[in-house]
């Protein structure tokens, strides 16, 4: 199959990425449902991920001042990242009792915590652009980098619509969440989900997780949490739905997530076709000019 054929398949597949990638009778697609309404910000996921996957510390020991977050974001050496967002917003009935009476008569305060991770997109641009096959689709429908194949070209880095995949500078290769591919093969839960004490990170079959998430968001809305929403759950979105999706309590931008991500390779076939038409036209023009000049 030509690279172009791979590309087209990835973009038009029916949302069963393992099947679309050529696996015969793959196991059900696996993923994460991260319910941020349950996150307590303990960062056990960050530590468990690094311990299991032997991801080094980021080296920086800087105080970032981002509330309790000193990680900052996902990167080559951070595959789970817990964001802390301090807001002056109603807390849906709970009493924070943090009254700054001279500035904010309403006094409502809330603290959002959210564990971010690679989205394991249905249409994964990182995988589309990888020239070496280091990035591949697993039988579980997840997207994994093979470190021993990656040549460090870095094409995948700008291709990711979420800014997840990243190059380890001192190493040259790219790294990201594998959804603990080695643990999945043994029938184990990913390290972050195993370590999560509140079930904020839930691992399982994607279809079942989507049902669970739909019920959870309906429950939250029914109890007055009007801002509760799912992010990356919709198979019709710009990346064909995320294998790792989220329940958020505010706009995605509040959490540093793009509001409407689109697989960056979506327009490539059209662009190639346009380029081909332009090329043919150009060649025709040159030929015409040559023949004309020959006269």
């Amino acid at each position: 199959m030509s690279p172009d054929g791979d590309l087209v398949l990835s973009l038009v597949g029916g949302g069963e990425p393992a099947l679309d990638s050529g696996y015969e009778d793959p196991p059900p697609r696996k993923g994460f449902f991260t319910d941020t309404s349950l996150c307590i910000g303990c960062k056990a996921c960050e530590v468990a991920c690094k311990e299991w996957n032997e991801v080094p510390a980021d080296g920086g020991l800087d105080f970032l001042g981002l509330s309790m977050d000193n990680t900052g974001g996902l990167g080559a050496d951070t595959w789970r990242h817990v964001a802390f967002i301090e807001q002056r917003k109603p807390l849906n009935g709970a009493e924070a009792n943090l009254i700054h009476s001279d500035r904010d008569p309403n006094g409502d305060f809330r603290w959002l915590m959210s564990s971010d991770v690679c989205k394991h997109c249905t249409h994964a641009a990182c995988l589309d652009v990888c020239p070496t096959g280091a990035l591949f689709r697993t039988e579980f429908g997840t997207v994994v980098v093979q470190a021993d194949v990656c040549n460090g070209c870095g094409y995948c880095v700008p291709a990711c619509p979420y800014g997840v995949i990243d190059k380890r500078e001192e190493d040259g290769r790219v790294f990201k969440c594998t959804l603990c591919y080695d643990r999945l093969g043994e029938g184990m839960d990913p390290a972050c989900a195993k370590a999560c004490p509140t079930n904020s990170i839930q691992y399982g079959e994607l279809d079942e997780l989507r049902e669970r998430a739909d019920a959870r968001v309906a429950h939250l809305r029914a109890t007055g949490v009007a801002d509760a929403r799912l992010y990356g759950r919709d198979p019709g979105d710009g990346v064909g739905g995320d294998g790792a999706f989220f329940l958020l309590l505010d706009e995605p931008e509040v959490y540093g997530l793009p509001p409407d991500p689109v697989v960056t390779t979506r327009d490539l076939p059209q662009m190639w076709r346009s380029a081909a038409v332009a090329g043919v036209a150009l060649l025709g023009g040159i030929a015409a000019a040559t023949f004309a000049g020959g006269r």
Binding site: K43, D58, L61, D62, F63, G65, N70, H100, W111
Partner: protein, 556 residues
């Protein structure tokens, strides 16, 4: 002498403990007063405490008034530190704050400091005991690296060497050491003592040499031995019950066959109260134990915490004493009346009813009483432990803010187990303090900038976090700003910073002698703290401005 005590003495001194010599009761050292950690520091400063073992403790960061802790250690003949890393309590004599300020010079310090690297929990056999009283055995997964050794190795071989040195002694005072049962088997290239042998000694043995299964078997005639009555049964039937790992899917919901809980593997104390007066579970779903009338005994999912054959309708006869005086419907068997108590009417220095006193160092007077501070608290008179004027006392306004202290999930206590771990250090890398936007504006503090915090004990610097989570308090008609600060950092390790406990005084609660470290008055200013001699000079300047002397804040 009660059976528990005799059995303990038999466990420690074996054949040497006989009825004729009171089972060696007089071998036990006597309490000479309070021997708490802060009293020990004072004894070090007075020169009466000459030697100190620190095993998994880091008072140069973790205890109130760090400077006084270091001054006490600097007055010792010897100090032994056993820890994973070179914690601050092991290196203060060469790089501590007092060396930097020239208050101490290394060549003047006569304390001989020994550092012994400690093995981690995965490098040794042993138990974890959690707050549910459950013991879980863990096995050595790998041998300790380098010179690291388990605590058990250290204590056993230290005792063995001391006994060898004393072997020919005829001095009576050496008998308690020489008569000890100190015969644990060792194995492997490190001669690691058997932790299971220690657990068996703690469990205890009967007259026939068999493992005891319950503390009810303990006798006062010297025929039984038991190192701790509450642990009796942890090695019942010669099996390490703490090492049991039956999955929850193969046993009832109380999980009684996972590990072992003291005493008697009871998972819930006073579980008789889970059944009604007639002995029927209040809730079938939450049932723990119940009275089986046909069998005439208490049965259930959990081990009954009640005399097994005492029927619910048992009523004690006139003049009954001890357990026999507890009726069949009185579950709280450790209380004289068999009933649950909302408070302890006797036995506490302060109480029984709660009341409100202001902290030792407070910006306000007590709104409830003329009595400002708890009159029963313990204070210590030392030039390094001066207190603040409070409320309406002159000079209190020199420390106009309130400091409250807390911990983070990312670090463990004084940091010996976390500040050297890269994956934890990067999550909370630097000492910081939290202030409201209002206080930041009042004192010119910048988010992510530096602040200097001052009390009459010390001065530290920390990074600033300006956050709406910190709110001014409205107290006594005044607006009082509070500062929040976690305490885990010190100058050593990967994640470093000044130690918050430099700021704290030693003032103890009357009952448990816990240091008062959750609320105190303080001043904060922008920028980094002075270096060198300027650091103690700033503290002295604050003391003078506030008119602080030996009597400040010490009235009952």
């Amino acid at each position: 002498m009660p059976a528990y005590m005799v059995s303990l003495l038999k466990a420690w001194w074996g054949d040497a403990a006989t009825a004729e010599n009171d089972f060696c009761f007089d071998y036990l050292p006597r309490l000479l007063g309070t021997h708490g950690t802060y009293d020990t520091v004072m004894a070090q400063l007075e020169g009466t405490c000459k030697g100190y073992f620190l095993m998994g403790e880091n008072p140069a960061v973790g205890s109130a008034n760090n400077r006084l802790q270091r001054m006490g250690m600097a007055n010792l003949d010897w100090l032994v530190v056993r820890d994973f890393s070179l914690i601050e309590s092991a290196t203060w004599w060469k790089d501590g704050p007092e060396i930097e300020t020239a208050e101490m010079r290394t060549e003047d310090i006569e304390t001989e400091v020994f550092f012994f690297p400690a093995a981690a929990h995965i490098e040794k056999d042993g138990t974890f005991t959690n707050t549910q009283r459950m013991l879980q055995w863990h096995f050595e997964a790998q041998r300790p690296e380098g010179d690291a050794r388990s605590d058990l190795w250290f204590m056993y071989h230290l005792g063995r060497r001391i006994r060898e040195r004393l072997a020919d002694s005829t001095d009576e005072r050496d008998r308690p050491v020489l008569d000890l049962t100190w015969d644990y088997p060792t194995a492997g290239p490190l001669a690691e003592p058997s932790a299971e042998a220690v657990l068996q000694e703690i469990n205890g043995f009967g007259p026939d040499g068999a493992h005891l299964s319950s503390y009810s078997q303990l006798a006062d005639d010297g025929s039984t031995s038991c190192g701790a009555w509450i642990y009796c049964g942890v090695y019942a039937d010669g099996v390490n019950q703490a090492a049991r790992r039956k999955p929850r899917t193969e046993q009832n919901w109380t999980g009684g066959e996972w590990g072992w809980a003291w005493p008697s593997n009871r998972r819930v104390l006073y579980n008789r109260a889970s059944a009604d007066p007639e002995g029927r579970p209040w809730s079938e779903r939450k049932a723990l134990v119940w009275w089986d009338g046909d069998a005439g005994r208490w049965v259930g999912h959990d081990t009954p915490d009640f005399d097994l054959d005492k029927a619910p309708d048992y009523r004690p006869p006139e003049g009954a004493r001890g357990p026999g005086a507890t009726a069949g419907d009185q579950p709280f068997i450790m209380q004289a009346d068999g009933l649950g108590w909302l408070y302890a009417p006797a036995g506490t220095t302060d109480g029984p009813l709660p009341t409100h006193y202001e902290p030792q160092d407070s910006p306000v007077d007590n709104a409830l009483y003329g009595q400002k501070r708890n009159p029963a608290r313990t204070t210590y008179d030392h030039p390094g432990n001066r207190y603040h004027p409070s409320g309406s006392e002159p000079g209190a306004n020199v420390f106009p803010y309130v400091l409250t202290t807390y911990r983070l999930t990312e670090h463990f206590t004084s940091g010996g187990m976390s500040r050297w771990a890269p994956h934890l250090s990067e999550l909370q890398p630097e000492s910081f303090c939290e202030v409201s936007p209002e206080l930041a504006a009042e004192r010119g503090l910048e988010h992510r900038g530096w602040a200097t915090l001052v009390t009459a004990r010390g001065v530290v610097e920390a990074r600033v976090m300006v956050t709406d989570r910190m709110t001014p308090l409205n107290v006594a008609g005044r607006r009082i700003h509070q500062i929040g600060m976690p305490y885990h950092w010190g100058p050593n390790g990967l994640a470093t910073g000044d130690s918050l406990n430099e700021l704290l005084s030693i003032a103890l609660d009357p009952n448990a002698h816990i240091q008062e470290d959750k609320a105190l008055s303080i001043d904060i200013r922008p920028g980094r703290r002075p270096r060198g001699a300027g650091r103690p000079a700033l503290v002295r300047a604050y003391q003078q401005r506030a008119g602080i002397g030996a009597d400040t804040g010490t009235a009952p």
